[in-house]
Homo-oligomer: 373 residues x 2
């Protein structure tokens, strides 16, 4: 992905605002319920290329309708591959004119984390519904700005938490909610991979990523600790570990964190760019549920203490996610991963970094039921 | 188990010393290698009753030869059940006369933790080899005293770490040692059970147990974090959680701890008397190994990232453990769980409590290769 400086983006944003005078608002809601909503992908990195675009060939309620890219050579390639009309192909300079494009209902922002806020806000101002890839932003303040912009524009907002639409994860949520195995007492949420590639990738550049393992994989751990207990944590303590500072120049390599939940359950979080692990474990008074893998692109795998092996047919998680959001827009079904959930997780991320900064001090969290689904 | 005050024990110890003048030293080592060593169990609680005594009916290199109990009604019952001669039945007052009993080669101390040191030292002074149930004692100073007493008496000393003789655990150790899946990066070690019974049991009485979940189940987590990486940790941070202070009056309910290992691997420890979990997970550059259950009485169960299901025939873990120690005595095979290992773990226990006391401060550990097998 081509790097674009913050200065360039801010300039673009200012220009964009000037173009927005006659932008239509929430055009999608007027569409017929049987119509597929048009999605424009912003940022054509590997996630858009290998996950989102292919998924959008199989979705029921939405389709790939446009792209926004800073790399000119991708324009033609994608146009041909996905039969995209020329007028639905944008770059970062003319992005805001997307407001005039009735074929685009949803803008999916798949840029590096530090660019999420700018583009989500611009998408909202263009009157488009917004999917913001996880993590929602690089600060709680940015999350607030995105939420406010979407509210003001009257558009729907979702975070790219695809697992809320994923059947193994939904089965875990069901077990937690229905207390199939009784009261939850402990959750272990490990999400990590061993990064040995290009040390200059954007995920390892704090200016673009906002942080390292925690911002990337740790958000999965936070998510699964919460849906694996059905509660928001009331406090967090955290620790950081570093073994390759020459590679992880300014982002966190490994973080552990401990959550307290309202019923006394404890959450144990491990996230790292220095180990391969992808696992969820919830234990209850009368049994346990395990997912391993728990948060890769699937198929996931799971089992329970009474010998059950979870088995669901595999479908693209991203496809299910985008269909869920489209149904939310068209049919009023629940928004399974609203912006408030992304903000809640960013509050926790900031608390974890704060605890680390204060040598593992316990940071109280006042999240209430915010973002619980 | 009948409670015996520290004062009573000290008095008994003093009396005992007076009887020891002509105690034979390390009588077992002179025995023929094909003879079964005689073991006396000290303390006839549930572990002796349901695990050790039955195991000793099937062991190859040792046998149940005597008992030491503070409960007179157990004397006759055990004598009949196990055909024990009257002269091999002791109480806590006459225990030290065991020195004269050539039929007893090993004394296995299965008393509450705070009594381990007294009885291990008395057993050593009586010239008997010693197995000390885990945790070895309630302080590092007591571990030192036990080790010194055994050294002085020329007897062998082992801690009741039965898993070092257990096939699933040994397979994990082999995988770690041979780097079957490459370099280890992370280990999760969860050992906990949900205590809802008598709040006055000795395990929940700090004067007898020395501590709560950490002293009881946490020692398994410490052990498995170490044999699951093949290294001793270089630092530890820890946190304590409490939800039922009325039940856990003066012992820890739940503790999490984080280990750093020399190669940068991280260990994540969870131990509790408020959750059911019994699990080990080691992840390496090229795969992972999981045991679940990992440290109950078995049979254990395990699997690896490449789809292997570990399968070993079930044998009594305690039987294997006591046979291993007997072979060590008679044949000079390695002592797989020496006193130094128990002391190392107590150093870590004390560091964990210290970290908690200092609000999660990182406590450096200088263990070198101590106790690694």
């Amino acid at each position: 992905m081509k790097k674009i400086s913050r200065r360039t983006f801010n300039t673009t944003l200012t220009l964009g605002l000037g173009m927005m005078v006659n932008a239509p608002k929430a055009c999608a809601v007027q569409k017929r319920a049987d119509k597929k909503l048009g999605i424009a992908l912003v940022g054509l990195g590997s996630y858009s290329t290998y996950q989102l675009a292919p998924a959008l060939q199989e979705t029921t309620h939405c389709r790939l309708a446009g792209i926004v890219t800073g790399t000119p050579e991708k324009e033609q390639k994608w146009a041909e591959k996905y039969n995209l009309p020329k007028e639905s192909i944008y770059n970062y300079d003319n992005f805001d004119t997307i407001a005039k494009n009735d074929d685009i209902d949803i803008v999916y922002v798949v840029l590096p984390n530090s660019m999420h806020a700018d583009f989500c806000i611009r998408a909202a101002k263009a009157g488009k519904h917004v999917i913001c890839e996880k993590p929602m932003a690089v600060s709680v303040a940015e999350c607030d700005a995105i939420i406010a912009a979407c509210k003001k524009a009257g558009v729907k907002l979702s975070v790219g938490y695809r697992l809320h639409s994923e059947p193994y994860t939904k089965e875990l949520m069901r077990i937690v909610k229905e207390k199939t195995y009784g009261e939850v007492r402990y959750v272990a949420a490990d999400a990590a991979y061993n990064s040995r590639g290009n040390p200059n990738q954007w995920r390892l550049d704090k200016a673009l990523s906002g942080g390292g393992a925690l911002m990337n994989m740790g958000v999965y751990s936070i998510q699964s600790a919460i849906y694996g207990t059905g509660m928001n944590p009331t406090s967090v303590t955290a620790q950081e570990f570093s073994t390759r500072p020459e590679y992880f120049k300014d982002t966190d390599e490994t973080i552990t964190a401990q959550f307290e939940f309202p019923n006394g359950a404890v959450g144990n979080i491990f996230t790292s760019h220095n180990a391969n692990i992808n696992r969820h474990f919830s234990t209850f008074d009368k049994g346990w549920v395990e997912l391993n893998p728990a948060n890769n692109y699937g198929p996931l795998s799971g089992r329970t203490s009474d010998g059950k092996v979870l088995e669901f047919p595999h479908q693209s998680q991203q496809g299910l996610q985008m269909d869920d959001f489209s149904k939310h827009i068209m049919q009023g079904t629940p928004n399974v991963a609203p912006g408030e959930m992304g903000k809640r997780d960013m509050i926790i991320v900031e608390a974890i970094y704060q605890s680390i900064k204060e040598d593992g001090k316990k940071i109280p969290l006042d999240l209430g039921m915010m973002g619980i689904v």
